[in-house]
Protein backbone atom coordinates (compact mmCIF):
# COMPACT_ATOMS: atom_id res chain seq x y z
CA UNK A 1 0.00 0.00 0.00
CA UNK A 2 1.26 3.45 -0.84
CA UNK A 3 0.01 6.89 0.04
CA UNK A 4 -1.98 8.04 -2.95
CA UNK A 5 -3.33 11.54 -2.53
CA UNK A 6 -0.68 13.03 -0.34
CA UNK A 7 -0.81 16.61 0.74
CA UNK A 8 1.75 18.85 2.31
CA UNK A 9 1.97 18.74 6.08
CA UNK A 10 0.87 22.37 6.11
CA UNK A 11 -2.39 21.21 4.56
CA UNK A 12 -3.13 19.03 7.60
CA UNK A 13 -6.37 19.35 9.53
CA UNK A 14 -6.89 22.71 11.16
CA UNK A 15 -10.61 22.54 11.94
CA UNK A 16 -12.23 19.89 14.11
CA UNK A 17 -15.06 18.13 12.32
CA UNK A 18 -18.50 18.44 13.90
CA UNK A 19 -19.19 14.72 13.64
CA UNK A 20 -22.13 13.56 15.76
CA UNK A 21 -21.66 9.79 15.58
CA UNK A 22 -20.36 7.80 18.60
CA UNK A 23 -16.74 8.03 17.46
CA UNK A 24 -17.03 11.79 16.96
CA UNK A 25 -18.60 12.18 20.39
CA UNK A 26 -15.90 10.07 22.04
CA UNK A 27 -13.23 12.14 20.30
CA UNK A 28 -14.87 15.37 21.54
CA UNK A 29 -14.63 14.15 25.14
CA UNK A 30 -11.18 12.68 24.71
CA UNK A 31 -9.64 15.77 23.17
CA UNK A 32 -10.93 17.89 26.05
CA UNK A 33 -9.25 15.49 28.48
CA UNK A 34 -5.89 15.78 26.72
CA UNK A 35 -5.84 19.54 27.30
CA UNK A 36 -4.11 19.97 23.93
CA UNK A 37 -4.91 22.98 21.77
CA UNK A 38 -4.36 24.42 18.32
CA UNK A 39 -2.81 22.52 15.46
CA UNK A 40 -1.50 19.68 17.60
CA UNK A 41 -5.01 19.02 18.92
CA UNK A 42 -6.51 18.97 15.41
CA UNK A 43 -3.78 16.66 14.13
CA UNK A 44 -4.11 14.20 16.99
CA UNK A 45 -7.88 14.15 16.65
CA UNK A 46 -7.65 13.44 12.92
CA UNK A 47 -5.08 10.70 13.50
CA UNK A 48 -7.12 8.98 16.22
CA UNK A 49 -10.27 9.27 14.13
CA UNK A 50 -8.52 7.55 11.24
CA UNK A 51 -7.27 4.86 13.63
CA UNK A 52 -10.74 4.22 15.06
CA UNK A 53 -12.58 4.24 11.75
CA UNK A 54 -9.98 1.99 10.13
CA UNK A 55 -10.39 -0.44 13.04
CA UNK A 56 -14.18 -0.32 12.78
CA UNK A 57 -13.93 -1.08 9.06
CA UNK A 58 -11.77 -4.14 9.81
CA UNK A 59 -14.14 -5.35 12.54
CA UNK A 60 -17.17 -4.93 10.25
CA UNK A 61 -15.41 -7.15 7.70
CA UNK A 62 -14.91 -9.69 10.50
CA UNK A 63 -18.68 -9.80 11.01
CA UNK A 64 -19.31 -7.47 13.96
CA UNK A 65 -22.24 -5.08 13.89
CA UNK A 66 -21.60 -1.34 13.61
CA UNK A 67 -22.23 -0.74 17.33
CA UNK A 68 -20.17 -3.78 18.38
CA UNK A 69 -17.30 -2.70 16.16
CA UNK A 70 -17.36 0.87 17.47
CA UNK A 71 -17.51 -0.30 21.09
CA UNK A 72 -14.61 -2.72 20.57
CA UNK A 73 -12.47 -0.22 18.64
CA UNK A 74 -12.79 2.42 21.36
CA UNK A 75 -12.30 -0.18 24.11
CA UNK A 76 -9.04 -1.37 22.53
CA UNK A 77 -7.56 2.10 23.00
CA UNK A 78 -7.64 1.52 26.75
CA UNK A 79 -8.95 3.58 29.62
CA UNK A 80 -9.80 7.04 28.28
CA UNK A 81 -8.36 9.17 31.09
CA UNK A 82 -5.09 7.19 31.12
CA UNK A 83 -4.81 7.50 27.34
CA UNK A 84 -5.36 11.27 27.56
CA UNK A 85 -2.73 11.49 30.28
CA UNK A 86 -0.19 9.73 28.01
CA UNK A 87 -0.78 12.20 25.17
CA UNK A 88 -0.67 15.16 27.53
CA UNK A 89 2.58 13.89 29.05
CA UNK A 90 4.14 13.29 25.60
CA UNK A 91 3.32 16.84 24.55
CA UNK A 92 4.74 18.36 27.72
CA UNK A 93 7.85 16.19 27.46
CA UNK A 94 8.51 17.68 24.03
CA UNK A 95 8.12 21.20 25.39
CA UNK A 96 10.47 20.43 28.32
CA UNK A 97 13.05 19.03 25.88
CA UNK A 98 12.94 22.17 23.75
CA UNK A 99 13.30 24.34 26.86
CA UNK A 100 16.35 22.35 28.01
CA UNK A 101 17.90 22.64 24.54
CA UNK A 102 17.47 26.42 24.64
CA UNK A 103 19.03 26.55 28.12
CA UNK A 104 22.01 24.44 26.97
CA UNK A 105 22.51 26.58 23.88
CA UNK A 106 22.33 29.72 26.01
CA UNK A 107 24.76 28.30 28.55
CA UNK A 108 27.16 27.24 25.79
CA UNK A 109 27.05 30.67 24.18
CA UNK A 110 27.63 32.35 27.54
CA UNK A 111 30.58 30.05 28.28
CA UNK A 112 32.12 30.76 24.88
CA UNK A 113 31.71 34.48 25.42
CA UNK A 114 33.50 34.13 28.75
CA UNK A 115 36.20 31.91 27.26
CA UNK A 116 35.31 29.05 29.59
CA UNK A 117 35.69 25.45 28.34
CA UNK A 118 32.48 23.45 28.36
CA UNK A 119 31.71 19.79 28.25
CA UNK A 120 28.58 19.16 26.23
CA UNK A 121 26.42 16.09 26.79
CA UNK A 122 27.83 13.08 24.92
CA UNK A 123 31.44 14.36 24.99
CA UNK A 124 34.07 12.53 26.95
CA UNK A 125 35.64 15.49 28.67
CA UNK A 126 38.40 16.11 26.15
CA UNK A 127 40.29 12.79 26.26
CA UNK A 128 40.80 12.86 22.49
CA UNK A 129 42.52 16.18 22.68
CA UNK A 130 44.93 15.55 25.55
CA UNK A 131 46.70 12.50 24.24
CA UNK A 132 44.92 9.97 26.48
CA UNK A 133 44.71 6.43 25.13
CA UNK A 134 41.44 5.58 23.37
CA UNK A 135 39.13 3.59 25.63
CA UNK A 136 36.86 0.81 24.36
CA UNK A 137 33.23 1.87 24.20
CA UNK A 138 31.30 0.42 27.10
CA UNK A 139 27.73 -0.78 26.82
CA UNK A 140 25.59 0.38 29.70
CA UNK A 141 23.18 -2.53 30.18
CA UNK A 142 20.86 -0.79 32.62
CA UNK A 143 20.80 2.31 30.47
CA UNK A 144 20.26 0.65 27.12
CA UNK A 145 17.69 3.18 26.09
CA UNK A 146 20.16 6.00 26.61
CA UNK A 147 22.78 4.12 24.57
CA UNK A 148 20.44 3.62 21.67
CA UNK A 149 18.65 6.91 21.61
CA UNK A 150 20.48 9.46 23.71
CA UNK A 151 18.81 12.51 22.26
CA UNK A 152 15.31 11.09 22.62
CA UNK A 153 15.45 11.02 26.40
CA UNK A 154 13.59 13.68 28.31
Amino acid sequence: MTPGQKQDRAAGPQVEPSTRDPIGEWLDVFMRLTGLSGGRRAELRAELEDHLRSRVDDLLIMGLSESEATHKAVGELGETAELARRFRHAQHAGQRRRTMQMILIGAGAAALALGVGTVLPGQSGGAAGNGAAAQPEVVDIAGEAAEIAPSMKT
Binding site: T2, P17, E82, Q91, M152
Partner: protein, 124 residues
Protein backbone atom coordinates in the same frame (compact mmCIF):
# COMPACT_ATOMS: atom_id res chain seq x y z
CA UNK B 1 0.17 -17.05 23.86
CA UNK B 2 0.51 -13.94 26.07
CA UNK B 3 1.64 -10.75 24.42
CA UNK B 4 5.11 -9.33 25.06
CA UNK B 5 5.41 -5.81 26.42
CA UNK B 6 8.14 -4.02 24.46
CA UNK B 7 10.51 -1.65 26.22
CA UNK B 8 10.47 1.91 24.90
CA UNK B 9 13.78 1.62 23.04
CA UNK B 10 12.74 -1.66 21.43
CA UNK B 11 9.45 -0.12 20.39
CA UNK B 12 11.29 2.71 18.68
CA UNK B 13 13.59 0.22 16.95
CA UNK B 14 10.65 -1.83 15.68
CA UNK B 15 8.76 1.22 14.38
CA UNK B 16 11.82 2.74 12.67
CA UNK B 17 12.60 -0.63 11.07
CA UNK B 18 9.10 -0.90 9.66
CA UNK B 19 9.24 2.65 8.31
CA UNK B 20 12.56 1.83 6.65
CA UNK B 21 10.65 -0.58 4.42
CA UNK B 22 7.84 1.75 3.35
CA UNK B 23 5.74 4.72 4.48
CA UNK B 24 3.00 3.72 6.92
CA UNK B 25 0.23 5.33 8.96
CA UNK B 26 -0.51 4.72 12.63
CA UNK B 27 -3.21 2.08 12.40
CA UNK B 28 -1.28 0.16 9.76
CA UNK B 29 1.84 0.17 11.95
CA UNK B 30 -0.10 -1.34 14.86
CA UNK B 31 -1.68 -4.00 12.61
CA UNK B 32 1.64 -4.91 10.96
CA UNK B 33 3.37 -5.32 14.32
CA UNK B 34 0.65 -7.65 15.52
CA UNK B 35 0.59 -9.63 12.27
CA UNK B 36 4.36 -10.00 11.88
CA UNK B 37 4.76 -11.13 15.47
CA UNK B 38 1.80 -13.49 15.06
CA UNK B 39 -0.01 -11.69 17.83
CA UNK B 40 2.83 -11.82 20.37
CA UNK B 41 3.55 -8.10 20.15
CA UNK B 42 0.91 -5.43 20.43
CA UNK B 43 1.48 -1.70 20.33
CA UNK B 44 -1.53 0.21 21.57
CA UNK B 45 -2.49 3.72 20.57
CA UNK B 46 -1.41 5.05 23.98
CA UNK B 47 2.20 4.15 23.21
CA UNK B 48 2.24 4.32 19.43
CA UNK B 49 1.03 7.87 18.82
CA UNK B 50 3.14 9.57 21.51
CA UNK B 51 6.15 7.69 20.06
CA UNK B 52 5.33 8.81 16.51
CA UNK B 53 4.95 12.37 17.75
CA UNK B 54 8.35 12.12 19.45
CA UNK B 55 9.97 10.74 16.28
CA UNK B 56 8.46 13.57 14.27
CA UNK B 57 9.71 16.24 16.69
CA UNK B 58 13.18 14.68 16.52
CA UNK B 59 12.95 14.83 12.69
CA UNK B 60 13.54 11.08 12.44
CA UNK B 61 10.39 10.83 10.32
CA UNK B 62 8.61 13.13 7.89
CA UNK B 63 4.84 13.23 7.58
CA UNK B 64 2.24 13.89 4.91
CA UNK B 65 -1.56 13.95 5.01
CA UNK B 66 -3.91 12.06 2.73
CA UNK B 67 -7.67 12.46 2.40
CA UNK B 68 -9.46 9.13 2.76
CA UNK B 69 -13.05 8.60 1.65
CA UNK B 70 -15.15 5.80 3.10
CA UNK B 71 -16.65 3.38 0.60
CA UNK B 72 -20.15 4.41 -0.44
CA UNK B 73 -19.83 7.91 1.01
CA UNK B 74 -20.86 11.11 -0.76
CA UNK B 75 -18.05 11.79 -3.25
CA UNK B 76 -18.42 15.54 -2.63
CA UNK B 77 -18.25 15.24 1.16
CA UNK B 78 -14.83 15.73 2.77
CA UNK B 79 -13.13 12.52 3.79
CA UNK B 80 -11.20 11.87 6.94
CA UNK B 81 -7.50 12.70 7.21
CA UNK B 82 -4.75 10.10 7.33
CA UNK B 83 -1.21 10.88 8.47
CA UNK B 84 1.57 8.98 6.73
CA UNK B 85 5.04 8.57 8.24
CA UNK B 86 8.22 8.18 6.21
CA UNK B 87 11.72 7.56 7.59
CA UNK B 88 13.98 10.61 7.13
CA UNK B 89 17.70 10.49 6.39
CA UNK B 90 18.33 11.32 10.03
CA UNK B 91 16.00 8.46 10.95
CA UNK B 92 17.98 6.04 8.79
CA UNK B 93 21.17 6.99 10.59
CA UNK B 94 19.47 6.61 13.96
CA UNK B 95 18.12 3.21 12.91
CA UNK B 96 21.58 2.01 11.84
CA UNK B 97 23.01 3.09 15.21
CA UNK B 98 20.12 1.48 17.09
CA UNK B 99 20.48 -1.82 15.23
CA UNK B 100 24.21 -1.88 15.92
CA UNK B 101 23.67 -1.11 19.62
CA UNK B 102 20.95 -3.73 19.88
CA UNK B 103 23.03 -6.47 18.21
CA UNK B 104 26.09 -5.63 20.26
CA UNK B 105 24.16 -5.80 23.51
CA UNK B 106 22.48 -9.01 22.42
CA UNK B 107 25.89 -10.61 21.69
CA UNK B 108 27.20 -9.57 25.08
CA UNK B 109 24.19 -10.89 26.96
CA UNK B 110 24.11 -14.12 24.93
CA UNK B 111 27.72 -14.80 25.95
CA UNK B 112 26.55 -14.98 29.56
CA UNK B 113 23.43 -17.00 28.90
CA UNK B 114 25.17 -19.63 26.77
CA UNK B 115 23.33 -22.93 26.62
CA UNK B 116 22.13 -22.86 30.22
CA UNK B 117 18.61 -24.05 30.80
CA UNK B 118 16.37 -21.63 32.64
CA UNK B 119 16.37 -22.43 36.37
CA UNK B 120 13.03 -23.77 37.52
CA UNK B 121 13.33 -22.16 40.94
CA UNK B 122 12.90 -25.46 42.81
CA UNK B 123 16.47 -25.62 44.10
CA UNK B 124 17.26 -24.71 47.66
Amino acid sequence: MPTVDLKADHTELVVLSMLAEEPLYGYLISRRIEARSQGELKLGAGKLYPLLSKLERAKLVTTTWEEVKAGGSDPDAPGRRRKWYRLSEKGRKRLAQSVESHRRLQRLVDAFIGDHAVADGSAG
